[in-house]
């Protein structure tokens, strides 16, 4: 895999919802193949308190026009500053980093469960699954209506269900309480999940109980993002593994999660 490290030019920053933005940048060189789950390390310069790059999943990519985009939730100084970028600004990116979600056999039925900024990798995943002729259901959870607005990003790739904690959209409650799971007979061949760790663990538990293969994408604290520092490890059945290199996508049963 060849990696890009280069200044990219900001083409657009738009806010589909208040606290999250989609940033699109143009690469100065051809973009290599991006797999669903791959991420980039973005440098946010001249921001007090931000020293290291920040990792973000790749939302989408247009090879033709050399465009790459990210869906980013503002949670601290770096994401706030990045969200203030203007068209024409230059931003240094390193990518593609990490492994990717594995595709099931064509025809298989899959469920994708996401929450918060964890939905970013699911556009590429949804598109690939669709080309792979899989039957895809998305289940997107959030606090309230605005948090699940972005679920429209997935409508082209399959059925989209939502839950909100305040019931302002979709079913009321957490994703794990969705009626989908209540029926008792969950007919999926594979589940993918990305979002807050408690959510992924709960989904992993459901998957295990139903004997369904489940992959999750972790968001550990990273110093480098490309395997050099050993800071981002997670415990697996084969010992500590780097989330940025052997991950971020892991099969739940490979992880030492007590679920």
């Amino acid at each position: 895999m060849s990696k890009i490290i280069a200044d990219h030019v900001v083409v657009e920053v738009r806010y589909p919802v208040n606290d999250s933005f989609i940033i699109t940048l143009r690469s100065p060189v051809d973009i290599p193949d991006i797999l669903p789950g791959n991420f980039a390390e973005i440098q946010i310069e001249n921001t007090t308190g931000v020293f290291l790059r920040r990792p973000f999943s790749i939302l989408d990519v247009d090879y033709e026009s050399r465009m790459i985009s990210f869906f980013i939730k503002i949670i601290g100084k770096g994401t706030k500053k990045l969200g203030e970028a203007k068209r024409g600004d230059k931003v240094s990116l390193i990518y593609p980093l990490g492994n990717s979600f594995s595709l099931p056999e064509p025809g298989k039925k899959v469920l994708i469960v996401g929450g918060g900024s964890g939905i970013a990798p699911f556009v590429l995943l949804g598109r690939n699954l669709k080309s792979n002729n899989n039957d895809v259901t998305f289940l997107i959870g959030g606090k309230s209506k605005k948090d699940v607005l972005v679920s429209s990003l997935f409508s082209g790739f399959g059925k989209v269900l939502t839950t909100t904690e305040d019931g302002s959209a979709g079913e009321k409650g957490f994703v794990t309480g969705h009626s989908l799971f209540k029926s008792g007979n969950i007919h999926f061949d594979k589940i993918y999940s990305c979002g807050p760790e408690p959510m992924m663990k709960a989904i992993g538990k459901i998957a295990n109980r139903n004997g369904i293969d489940c992959e999750v994408s972790l968001e550990n604290m990273m110093a480098c993002g490309f395997g050099a520092c050993l800071c981002c490890v997670t415990e697996t059945i084969e010992g500590n593994k780097r989330v940025c290199k052997e991950g971020p996508v892991f099969n739940v049963n490979y992880l030492k999660w007590r679920i």
């Binding site: 895999m1 060849s2 990696k3 490290i5 440098q43 308190g49 931000v50 020293f51 290291l52 790059r53 240094s92 390193i94 550990n220 604290m221 990273m222 110093a223 480098c224 993002g225 490309f226 395997g227 050099a228 520092c229 050993l230 800071c231 981002c232 490890v233 997670t234 415990e235 010992g239 500590n240 290199k245």
Partner: protein, 303 residues
């Protein structure tokens, strides 16, 4: 063009820019970014006699102009390095220098003996300053007698260039440098990380699983420069300057303060191509300031 070569204990480096242990993996991760043959040398990830899992996650905290790490020497052991890793990286045309660690003097000796057998490995770095392990590690480097003891022991077991990496978490680093010089070190490298800590006020918890960790990055540069200068004035053996080097100007500052060569650490995480940029920047500096050889910079600081 100015001569970039530097000599450390009889070993010639093609230029004074090397990468610091633990910040460059085994080099392989950086092949995606530049031609490693350009490096003066490469200090690979710290290794121990037996495999180690390292510390629990979280191992990292960002700080003002720096970071804390508590990796804790996660590695698969010296034998794995020799059998699996080294064969994969030995083709790089640069000095590959293992960084060796132990809980006991015997550990250090055994690791050194094994590496002594590898003909193409020209040097080792004796890490007596790791703040992130419970036994050994920094304890060897924070007392002069134990620093001398471990250096003497490894010196007997190792024939080639022996570099001793010093801890900055001491009252008098020059005294320890003199001690290890007397014990047979060919060179000293400094600084390893400063012992620090981070607290999460909202969670009312320490950020690192180990509470304390090692501080690196530009935040520590002033301390590192001071120690390099103190050690340069105390010993005759060459000094590797380390600590917060982010660009060629920083590297030149270390050499002016007394370093014969430098190691680039945390900067690799932010710009994995930085070592090459630093080499070019030093060349440019030498030209602008009319130096024939990079070694003229060493200690050339006026007071």
């Amino acid at each position: 063009m100015a001569d970039l070569r530097v000599n450390i204990g009889g070993l010639e480096f093609k230029n004074p820019v090397t990468t610091a242990s633990g910040t460059f993996g085994n080099g392989e991760e950086f092949e995606d970014f530049f031609d490693l043959d350009l490096l003066g040398g490469m200090f690979v990830k710290g290794m121990t006699l037996e495999p180690r899992e390292g510390n629990d996650y979280p191992r990292m905290a960002e700080t003002a102009s720096g970071m804390l790490n508590a990796v804790g020497l996660q590695n698969k052991g010296v034998d794995h390095f020799i059998k699996e890793i080294y064969p994969r990286i030995k083709h790089f045309d640069t000095h590959i220098i293992p960084n060796i660690n132990g809980s006991t003097v015997e550990d250090y000796i055994e690791v050194a003996e094994k590496l002594n057998e590898i003909e193409t490995i020209p040097a080792i770095e004796l890490n007596i300053s790791c703040p992130n392990v419970k036994a050994g590690g920094m304890l060897f480097g924070t007392s002069c007698p134990s620093a001398i003891a471990v250096t003497e022991a490894v010196r007997k077991a190792y024939d080639k260039v022996l570099i001793v990496k010093l801890s900055p978490n001491v009252t008098d680093i020059a005294e320890i440098a003199k001690g290890v010089e007397g014990a047979g070190a060919d060179s000293v490298s400094l600084i390893n990380t400063l012992l620090g800590m981070a607290v999460d006020a909202e969670k009312r918890k320490s950020v690192l699983s180990t509470v304390t960790g090692g501080l690196s990055g530009p935040a520590v540069k002033p301390v590192a420069l001071r120690m390099v200068w103190q050690v340069y004035n105390a010993v005759k053996i060459p000094v590797f300057g380390i600590g917060g080097i982010m660009n060629a100007t920083d590297a030149v500052e270390f050499m002016l303060a007394g370093a014969a060569a430098v190691q680039v650490g945390t900067a690799n995480f932010i710009d994995p191509q930085i070592p090459v940029k630093i080499i070019k920047g030093i060349e440019n500096y030498l030209e602008r300031h009319h130096f024939d050889s990079v070694s003229e910079l060493t200690g050339a600081m006026e007071i």
